[in-house]
Subunit: 404 residues, 2 copies
């Protein structure tokens, strides 16, 4: 008898028909004699309607009330699921976060779950019931409803898996798993059966929209196996696992991820002294401009250097203005280039396999794709290329690393 | 500095524009240096949508989950009102029933408020805040959400007025007060400025749809002044008060109320012995058939009697069947008449004024309206007439008792 967390996202419960469909999925797990705990997001349409209402009330809608408003959405979804399961003859009931309680901390609209009290839920499961719990929300120390921010329902599922010591956590969503690369950019993209947490983290933060990095991080810290699966298609999904279940003959590279709308800024002739990079980036950080790749040339004479870094295209103007106004630095000139894209190859295999960087660069060179900036981590190599080459670059790398 | 409860019904918060409008009303009370507590129903459209969803999920929707589902509606309304008040520069926050808590007892979908903890709310008011509290709902001893049934938000307002010892309770609704009779049936109907609890109770249970009798009863028991007012029109409403503020020259009769779809059943030749009426009505009561007016003829020989009573037209068939199947009674024959209506005159003034019954009967007789059944209480006289005479009867009585 396994304890399984089933989490359903907003589109998976987006209509009454979808709720009927996922109720069938829940029943099928229950019939296999598992202990089932369901976490649900709000119906996607309901959430959109609530957000629309909030905007009509105020452009500066009170954040605490925004949490009250939005959290009503999961309440509706959970009541409907529980009632549908009852209708089908199963023992089920809804639990709001404050009833569990799921204790949260931190600011409204982006709080974190710090504790879940499981006693009542475990008792109910013991009696054969299926608890249906609201995702995305918590109760803070002031006894107010909070929400967890983007991807928050995944976080709810993973934290429940942790506190309930669940065997498995299945995330039902509108995609059927994690792919080797974006299928829209490369038709040979393949679904990944197993992926390690760290790989998934790199995939996620580089643009794969399956799960928020914070939730993957939580799963990693708590060693919880996550299966990402489609509630629309009856197909095996992707397992994000604590142990690598991949066999030895398989790929060194797990996936290829890309970002768009990157821009590159180069500052020429910066005085090379300790703390100069910090002086440049401090005002950018304060203005919420996200600096991604950074390359500093070696200064041959020990006095001047060139600095190149990437930001999102929409931030270029503001970035240049902040640098010009910065009295703590001096430089000769500044240039920028837009319409760039970052392409990254990700895989824990590269730790133990030499020559991956060379193979990547060579594959791109053969296609005459110029690399502008390079950045590496232990399990990832990213390069900045012209956006017009992105599809060609993916195809070349997908083939080179045998992902086709 | 007065403590004022402001309650807004579903149509009063039915759209975003309505919420903006009633927020202005709330602010105007606050500016007059009052302590304000707001109770809100769900937006009428939201409630309708939730009910529709429930029907699509199951025709036998779980009652506890129905309460979870519907109570999300007040949550939405209160968050929007609180955020709107914040937007306008006022200190305001929402309170769900479970946060107050408002403690309820009794079955799901028709529970009763038994206790309200006011400490947090009073502290918040002391700090200059406006609490916005969900009507229609409570938290039961099992820590589950309940709803209060029809007119439940009025009950919430009145119980809050009781536990907060409020000076006034204003019910904002889509009608602008209580009228001497239904304006749709008589164009000379006038708004009543003051009405006593008992008169209102008779008006309410006889078809006036302004407030549920249970809420009026609660107000009476707790001596809470209620002002019924329109949130759509800026006009004085009706005060339902503990003290009669009417001056001595005014009407003896406060209002005229009517019901429709009444039917009359007569049982001829019933054995006249103690308990025979109970034997007849017991199976009707068990089958949820509501018997209204009852008349028993005097039995001249002390052995047989005739019994006439009224039920709703739709219950006639079932009533006749139950009487025929009843083995505890015997009778000679049974007849019925449909298309009847009950018309009642109500007023505490009749207690001290003789001759009201005579004036009523004479006014109807002059218009050639036949009276079929009569029933009286201390402050009410009801007569059963043919439904086709209803408008004519109202006009005659409205004039006779100087309500025009």
């Amino acid at each position: 008898m396994k304890t399984i967390i089933l989490k359903f996202g907003g589109t998976s419960v987006g209509t009454i028909d979808r709720i009927k469909k996922i109720s069938q999925i829940i029943c099928s797990y229950k019939r296999q004699n598992n202990k089932i705990i369901v976490i649900s997001s709000a119906m996607s349409g309901v959430t959109n309607d609530l957000i629309k209402k909030s905007k009509l009330i105020s452009k500066n809608f009170d954040k605490a009330e925004y949490d009250v408003l939005l959290s009503s959405g999961e309440q509706v979804a959970c009541a409907l699921i529980a009632a549908r399961l009852s209708h089908l003859g199963y023992k089920a009931r809804s639990w709001m976060s404050w009833q569990v309680p799921i204790v949260s901390d931190g600011p409204h609209t982006s709080s974190k779950i710090i504790r879940i009290y499981t006693k009542d839920i475990l008792n109910y499961i013991k009696l054969g019931g299926i608890p249906i719990i609201t995702g995305f929300q918590g109760l803070n120390s002031e006894f107010r409803i909070t929400t967890l921010g983007r991807g928050g329902s995944d976080a709810s599922a993973i934290m429940l898996a942790k506190f309930l010591k669940a065997d498995e956590c299945i995330i039902y969503t509108d995609v059927d798993g994690v792919y080797t690369t974006d299928p829209k950019l490369h038709r040979k993209a393949k679904k990944i059966k197993y992926i390690q947490y760290d790989e998934m983290l790199e995939m996620a933060s580089l643009g794969s929209k399956v799960m928020q990095p914070a939730s993957v991080q939580d799963a990693k810290l708590n060693k919880i196996d996550i299966r990402v699966q489609s509630s629309f298609l009856n197909r095996p999904g992707t397992l994000i696992a604590k142990k690598q279940k991949r066999n030895f003959n398989s790929q060194i590279i797990t996936g290829i991820s890309t970002t768009r709308n990157d821009a590159k800024i180069t500052i020429v002739g910066v005085k090379d002294k300790p703390g100069v990079a910090a002086s440049i980036f401090e005002p950018l950080s304060k203005n919420l401009i996200n600096v991604d790749m950074v390359v500093q040339n070696i200064s041959l004479d020990g006095r001047k250097t060139d600095l190149t870094f990437t930001v999102k295209a929409e931030d270029v103007k503001k970035t240049q203005k902040l640098i010009k106004e910065n009295k703590n630095i001096s430089f000769k000139k500044m240039s920028f280039a837009k319409d760039l894209a970052k392409i990254s190859i990700i895989g824990v295999g590269m730790i133990t396999t030499p020559g991956i960087t060379y193979r990547m660069f060579k594959a791109l060179a053969l296609k005459k794709i110029n690399i502008m900036v390079i950045s590496t981590s232990e399990i990832k190599i990213s390069v900045l290329v012209s956006a017009k080459h992105i599809k060609k670059a993916i195809a070349a790398l997908h083939k080179e690393f045998r992902l086709d």
